[in-house]
C-alpha cells in the first residue's frame, strides 16, 4: 500500500479494491488558497480520464481527472465547509473521493513517490 501519482498531480492510494484520490502537495501549492471543491456524487460511475472533481482556488478552477475507472463509493463532504484542508493536508484529510476500482491495473502506469518527486523537480527547473 503506497501512494501513486499522475502527471496531472493527482494521488491515488489503493487499499483492497478501493482507491482514495486527492491532489498532491505540489498541486495545492501551485493552486494557492483553495476556496471550493466540487466533489462527485456517491454512486457515479467514473471512467479513467473522466472529470472527477473541480478544485477552485482564488486564482483558477481546475478539473481533476480520475486516474481509475469504477464506482464512487464515498466523497469527502467535509471539504464543503473547510476547503482549505486541501492546502493544509493535501495527502490525507484533504482527499476528494473513494472509488471502488474495476481494474487495479489502471494504476500500473502511475508513478511511485520517488519517481513523482523527480518529475516535480524537473518541472521546477
Amino acid at each position: 500500500m503506497s501512494y501513486k501519482f499522475t502527471e496531472d498531480h493527482e494521488w491515488v492510494l489503493l487499499e483492497g479494491d478501493v482507491a482514495t484520490i486527492g491532489i498532491s502537495d505540489y498541486a495545492q501549492g501551485q493552486l494557492g488558497d483553495v476556496v471550493y471543491v466540487e466533489v462527485p456524487t456517491v454512486g457515479d460511475e467514473i471512467a479513467k480520464g473522466d472529470e472527477l472533481a473541480v478544485v477552485e482556488s482564488v486564482k483558477a478552477a481546475s478539473e481533476v481527472y480520475s486516474p481509475v475507472s469504477g464506482e464512487v463509493i464515498d466523497v469527502n463532504t467535509e471539504l464543503e465547509g473547510a476547503p482549505t484542508m486541501v492546502n493544509e493536508d493535501a495527502m490525507e484529510s484533504g482527499w476528494f473521493a473513494r472509488i471502488k476500482v474495476t481494474n487495479s491495473s489502471d494504476l500500473d502506469d502511475l508513478m511511485d513517490e520517488a519517481t513523482y518527486k523527480t518529475f516535480v523537480e524537473g518541472l521546477d527547473e
Binding site: 476556496v35 471550493y36 466540487e38 456524487t41 477552485e56 482556488s57 483558477a60 478552477a61 478539473e63
Partner: protein, 447 residues
C-alpha cells in the same frame, strides 16, 4: 477611401490557412434568404442635411407610444421613468455597459451592481441574484441551462403560456447542447397540466407568472410536485412591476427566477436594450451564470465591493464556464436600480396597485362592448380579449386612428385559428382616463 488593414495577399493567406475558399464561405451558417445580395439601393453620397431630413421623415411615420394612447404589452411595458434616472446614468463614470476589467478600482459601479442584486433578490423572494443578463429571454435560456447543470438532467418542460419569444430563444440556445425541451401548447383557458410531464428525468419546469395571456397563478403546488421529483421550478416574470402586488416566486417555491427588468427604469426603445434578471437559491450559486458582485471589507476593515465567484466565468473557466455571457446589461441595470431606489418598497407596492386598478377599469369598459369577451379570470395589468373580428386587423385600424390598441396574439402565435381574434391589452399608470375613453370609443367604431 476605406482603410483596409489587410492586403489581398494576406487575406488569401489567412483563408488558405483555415481551409476556406472565400470570405463568403465564412457566412454559410446564415440562411441564404437573410443574406444581402449586392449593394442596397442607396445614393453613393448625400449631404448630412439631406440625410437628416430623410430620417426625420421616416421617423415621423412611427406612432410613438409616448405620444398616443398606448395599451401595448406582451413582454414590454410602458411605464413612467423619472427623469433623474436618465440624468444619473449619463454621468461619465457610469457610461459603459461593461463591468470594469479592473473591477475593484470602480467601487461606484460595483456598489450600484450590488444594490441591483439586492433589489432583485428582495422583489423575487430569492437568496441571491446576479449582476444582470441581457434580457428576459436570454435569462430564461440561461436558467434552463443552469437547471440542467444543477440536476445533471437533460430535459426541460416549457409551459405553453411562456412568452413565445422566450421559448424560441431557449430553443436557439439549447440547439447545440445535449439538452432538449418538451413544449406544451398554449392554453388560453389557463388549464394546463404541467405536472403530468414531471418525471425523474426532468431538469426543470419553466412557467411564467403572470403568464403570456396575463393570468396569475399560484405556483406553490407545482413547486412541490417539482421538488418531489428532484426537478427545479424556473419562474419567468416579464412584468416586474407585478412583484409589487403578487406573491413572489421565491415564496411560492421557485428555484430559479428569470425576469425581464425593462418595466423599471428602461424605456420601450423598440425592444431593447433591456435588462435580464436572474435569481436563485444560495445552494445553487456556483452554477449561476453571469457576474456576481460581493460585499467585503478592505485591509483597514472598511466596506468595499468585489466581483466574486469569478472562477465560474469564461475568462477563467474557458469552455467549462457556467455561461458564455461576456458582459451584462450594466447601464440598464443601473437605471433599474435608480428607479427602484426612488420607488422604494412602498412606492413599488403603490405603483403595482395603481397598474392593477387601471387594468380593472379598462377591462370593465372593454368587456361592456358588444361581442367583446374578457378571457381572464385573473390578471395584473394585462389581459386577453376575444374580439368579434380578426385582432390584427382591428389593431391596424386602431393604429390608423392614432391608438396603439394592444398586441394581437397572432403576432406571437401565428397560424393558429384559435388565436386569430385574441388581443392582449395592457394598462399601466401611464394611461389617462381620456386615453381609455378614446380607446373604447375607437374600438367600438372599428368592430
Amino acid at each position: 477611401m476605406r482603410y483596409m488593414p489587410h492586403t489581398a495577399a494576406e487575406r488569401e493567406e489567412m483563408l488558405t490557412k483555415i481551409g476556406v475558399g472565400s470570405i463568403d464561405d465564412l457566412f454559410t451558417d446564415i440562411p441564404e434568404e437573410s443574406r444581402l445580395e449586392g449593394l442596397l439601393d442607396l445614393p453613393l453620397h448625400e449631404s448630412e442635411m439631406v440625410v437628416e431630413k430623410n430620417f426625420r421623415k421616416l421617423a415621423a411615420k412611427n406612432l410613438s407610444p409616448y405620444s398616443v394612447p398606448c395599451f401595448l404589452g406582451a413582454g414590454a411595458y410602458q411605464h413612467h421613468v423619472p427623469s433623474v434616472a436618465d440624468h444619473i446614468i449619463q454621468r461619465s463614470e457610469f457610461l459603459t455597459a461593461y463591468t470594469p476589467y479592473q473591477p475593484e478600482i470602480s467601487q461606484g459601479t460595483l456598489q450600484a451592481l450590488f444594490e441591483f442584486q439586492t433589489q432583485v433578490a428582495l422583489i423575487t423572494g430569492m437568496e441571491v441574484a446576479n449582476a444582470s443578463m441581457y434580457d428576459g429571454a436570454t435569462s430564461c435560456a440561461e436558467a434552463v441551462l443552469m437547471a440542467c447543470r444543477v440536476t445533471r438532467r437533460k430535459k426541460a418542460v416549457i409551459s405553453g403560456n411562456l412568452h413565445p419569444h422566450y421559448r424560441d430563444v431557449t430553443h436557439t440556445t439549447l440547439q447545440f447542447t445535449e439538452f432538449e425541451t418538451i413544449d406544451l401548447p398554449p392554453a388560453v383557458s389557463g388549464a394546463e397540466r404541467v405536472d403530468d410531464h414531471i418525471t425523474s428525468e426532468i431538469a426543470c419546469v419553466v412557467a411564467q407568472n403572470p403568464d403570456f395571456f396575463g393570468r396569475l397563478h399560484d405556483l406553490s403546488a407545482l413547486a412541490e410536485e417539482c421538488h418531489a421529483a428532484g426537478t427545479l421550478l424556473v419562474v419567468v416574470v416579464n412584468e416586474v412591476v407585478s412583484l409589487g402586488a403578487i406573491t413572489s416566486p421565491g415564496e411560492m417555491g421557485a428555484d430559479i427566477v428569470a425576469g425581464e427588468g425593462q418595466s423599471i427604469g428602461v424605456p420601450l426603445s423598440f425592444g431593447g436594450p433591456y435588462v435580464g434578471l436572474l435569481a436563485t437559491r444560495q445552494k445553487f450559486v456556483r452554477q449561476m451564470p453571469g457576474r456576481l458582485c460581493g460585499q467585503t471589507v478592505d485591509q483597514d476593515g472598511k466596506r468595499g465591493f468585489v466581483l466574486t465567484l469569478s472562477t465560474r466565468e469564461q475568462h477563467i473557466r474557458r469552455e467549462k464556464a457556467t455561461s458564455n455571457i461576456c458582459t451584462n446589461a450594466g447601464l440598464c441595470s443601473l437605471a433599474f436600480t435608480i428607479h427602484m431606489s426612488l420607488l422604494g418598497e412602498s412606492g413599488l407596492t403603490k405603483l403595482a396597485s395603481l397598474n392593477h386598478s387601471q387594468a380593472v377599469t379598462l377591462a370593465e369598459k372593454l368587456e361592456a362592448i358588444d361581442g367583446v369577451d374578457l378571457l381572464n379570470d385573473s390578471f395584473f395589468n394585462e389581459f386577453t380579449l376575444r374580439l368579434p373580428m380578426n385582432a390584427a386587423s382591428a389593431v391596424e385600424k386602431l393604429g390608423e386612428k392614432g391608438i396603439l390598441g394592444g398586441v394581437p396574439v397572432s403576432r406571437l402565435i401565428p397560424d393558429d385559428p384559435e388565436m386569430a381574434n385574441l388581443l392582449l391589452v395592457a394598462a399601466t399608470e401611464t394611461c389617462s382616463a381620456s386615453d381609455m375613453d378614446d380607446f373604447v370609443a375607437t374600438l367600438k367604431e372599428v368592430l
